[in-house]
Homo-oligomer: 227 residues x 2
DNA sequence: CAGCTATTCAAGTAATCGCTTAAATAGTTT
DNA sequence: AAACTATTTAAGCGATTACTTGAATAGCTG
């Protein structure tokens, strides 16, 4: 308990926690976390989705694994990665909250790239839940099918945004449609709302994505067939 | 909305969030956050407490500020730094939770340095709250006086651990004493419990610190005189 | 067991990081 | 306005990082 020992203890324990910070210090790795928050994936899948080389993504995944943020398991010839625990998702969401609240650049980027977003107010989780209760909205999951299968808002329908134009007739025109996707920095729901409104539908965007909905303890479902 | 623009948007927005991760990627900076979670401080104070040069700490503080994690204000000749918002504290606690749950090295370090800790079970916040309600414990804040003044558990008494041996008679021997400090990786409460038990007191450690207590929305007080 | 394939590792390079020392700045106080 | 002082900045270093390319590994699958 003498002073030097105490300093060494502090140095070492904070250095350990800093390993986690370091894992969060690359935009590429945060993008991987965001993808893995939707569902588990193989290395090549992640490489394609992030437009990176397989070797590079593999190395990033090692960093994430050594920081305890992701887990992997073998499935046939592939190795599938996933978030190691819900507290990891919680950590990523906490970091995102700080960015949203404290970094002006993030707001600027969203404004610049998603020009329509500021015009249209988004639906909150509480409000959507109320609408669901009243049968007052169709909940539309516009993420890729496999992400829907791995888990979605209870009662939601799936039409991936890529298929929305061709499958738009599956949706009734009379009712309000609330579209959601991976999260507030995912563009799928914005695109979906644009397509729907263009076709004369009454569409709104949920202000967050599926992982946030689930972390709030709100009702979710998953495709029992898959997984 | 074409593919290349979308990739660029993702790259840029995740790079922005990564600035926050980078700020968390140094043990030294995490130590600063932990100190600032107790109360605001000047640069030299932080330098002394971390055994670092003033220039080095100043540079770390710039990194933290540019990531939106800390704020500063001038007070007389000094510049005082503080956490920028409660969500920053929330982020640090989320990171710590992940470390505790997922990094075996952290447990090893605690076991090695705080050998007694495993023997003695700690009191949880819920349990302490119950004890307070029943008048069933003395709550003892063993952090330095100024940290107590900046905020403490409602009803707690202050005896900094450095003064505990000389002031131990202020405490009644009949009642259970629950000591707390900065957090689970702070050694003050462990030291205090050791001193108290050695002197024949019935003492226990709270399993977290003041910032965690406050973030849970449990009752706190502050010294109105200071501030 | 041999062949195949997804994944990891290793080496190399340009850029960045943490810390030190020394000088500059900015703001208060006298 | 001058002097002082806390803080920031600049330059320099050794160590580390992100990514690429090319080779190695590990473990299914036929």
């Amino acid at each position: 308990m003498r002073a030097t020992g105490k300093r060494q203890f502090k140095d070492e324990i904070f250095a350990q926690f800093a390993r986690i910070g370091r894992a969060l210090s690359s935009g590429r790795r945060l993008e991987l976390l965001e993808l893995l928050a939707q569902r588990e994936r193989g290395v090549e899948e992640l490489a394609i989705e992030t437009s990176q080389s397989v070797a590079n993504i593999s190395q990033h995944l090692q960093v994430l694994r050594q920081a305890g943020l992701v887990d992997s398991r073998r499935q046939g010839n592939y190795i599938r990665y996933r978030l190691a625990a819900d507290i990891v998702l919680n950590l990523w969401l906490a970091l995102r909250d700080v960015g949203q609240a404290r970094l002006a650049e993030i707001d600027k980027l969203v404004q610049a790239f998603l020009k329509d977003r500021s015009a249209l107010e988004a639906v909150t989780c509480v409000e959507l839940q109320r609408r669901i209760k009243n049968g007052n909205a169709i909940v539309l999951d516009v993420r890729p099918e496999q992400e829907f299968a791995a888990g979605h808002i209870a009662g939601a329908r799936s039409i991936p945004v890529a298929e929305l134009r061709t499958r738009i007739r599956e949706l009734p025109k009379r009712r309000v449609i609330v579209a959601y996707c991976r999260g507030p920095y995912c563009v799928f729901a914005d695109q979906a709302v644009a397509i729907l409104r263009n076709a004369g539908y009454n569409a709104l965007r949920l202000d967050t994505g599926f992982p946030e909905w689930r972390m709030k303890g709100l009702p979710v479902e998953r495709d029992a067939a898959r997984m």
